[in-house]
Symmetry: C2
Subunit: 151 residues, 2 copies
DNA sequence: TTGATATCATTTGCATACGAATGAATTTGG
DNA sequence: CCAAATTCATTCGTATGCAAATGATATCAA
């Protein structure tokens, strides 16, 4: 009887005690991202991951508008503007107005920007490898597949 | 012969063309994190994930120093200070000086902070579920195991 | 004990990141 | 054709996130 009551109390108890921050996907995702950024910085000190992403995508697709570039690298308009401004200040991209659609700002790699991204791509491969280093090759493949489903 | 030469050229060619930003772990990790933060904001609009993490950890361990709390929730000293300052401004935590070690700043939940975190924990569970929703239960378990190894 | 070290917190500077508001230019629908 | 809606870019405000420098306090070691 008293056992039954105890069970009932336990069942009704809001299991706040069971909430473990360290096991929540958001918390671990944030830490994994932090670790990656740290690895990135150790290999490529003078460019941030978003800056690298912008250069890599420009290298890939060529001239695009600032907003379109933002879409391609998953940055909103306000964020991409800051990134591009800083790349421009360093002479890695240049900006021209679109002749026909005067709203658009076209972004291009400069020769220096092209040289930089081509030089850095091998390092980026190493960064990817180091980030995935705690996993076996098979685990890494599984992880990438599942991560892609989440993103 | 010309076939052999061609093969040689291909083998030596730096495969920059093969670099796909969208397939790099860092890029997808950043996108997955963005998605999670967006889900979090849709469920808990008036608190950020770092603010929630601070409250949840305080609820878990009770009084701690600001730096210690930062360690527990993976934030450096400068970042945790900003988070705690904003929680204090909203009356969710209060700060007292450590009696013995005058360097330390002790952080505590206020009654309002305790009420808030206990009210939000069920929502946080829903956020975790929604974040993992693209995966089956088995996939989610695998993903969490591998993600933990990376973080 | 005291001088060197280490720890805790703060501050500054820089770089994402995003919501919201704004203005300019384009496209669409009636 | 023209008013309404949309798109592109910018700006502002707020919130992480981290490196580096600084000041105060505590601890360690000679």
């Amino acid at each position: 009887m008293s056992g039954g009551e105890l069970k009932l109390v336990e069942a009704e108890e809001p299991d706040d005690h069971d909430y473990r921050l360290q096991e929540q996907v958001g918390f671990i995702l944030r830490k994994a991202h932090q670790r990656h950024v740290s690895i990135f910085a150790s290999q490529i000190g003078d460019l941030t991951p978003p800056q690298f992403a912008a250069l890599a995508k420009l290298h890939d697709v060529g001239e695009t508008s600032q907003n379109q570039l933002g879409t391609l690298i998953a940055m909103d308009a306000a964020t991409v503007k800051g990134v591009i401004d800083r790349l421009k200040a360093r002479g890695l991209v240049d900006l021209t107005k679109h002749e026909v659609d005067k709203r658009r700002l076209l972004v291009n790699l400069t020769p220096e920007g092209r040289e930089a991204i081509e030089r850095l791509i091998p390092l980026a491969r190493a960064i990817t490898q180091e980030t995935l280093a705690p996993l076996t090759a098979k685990e890494a493949a599984t992880f990438m597949r599942l991560l892609a489903k989440l993103a």
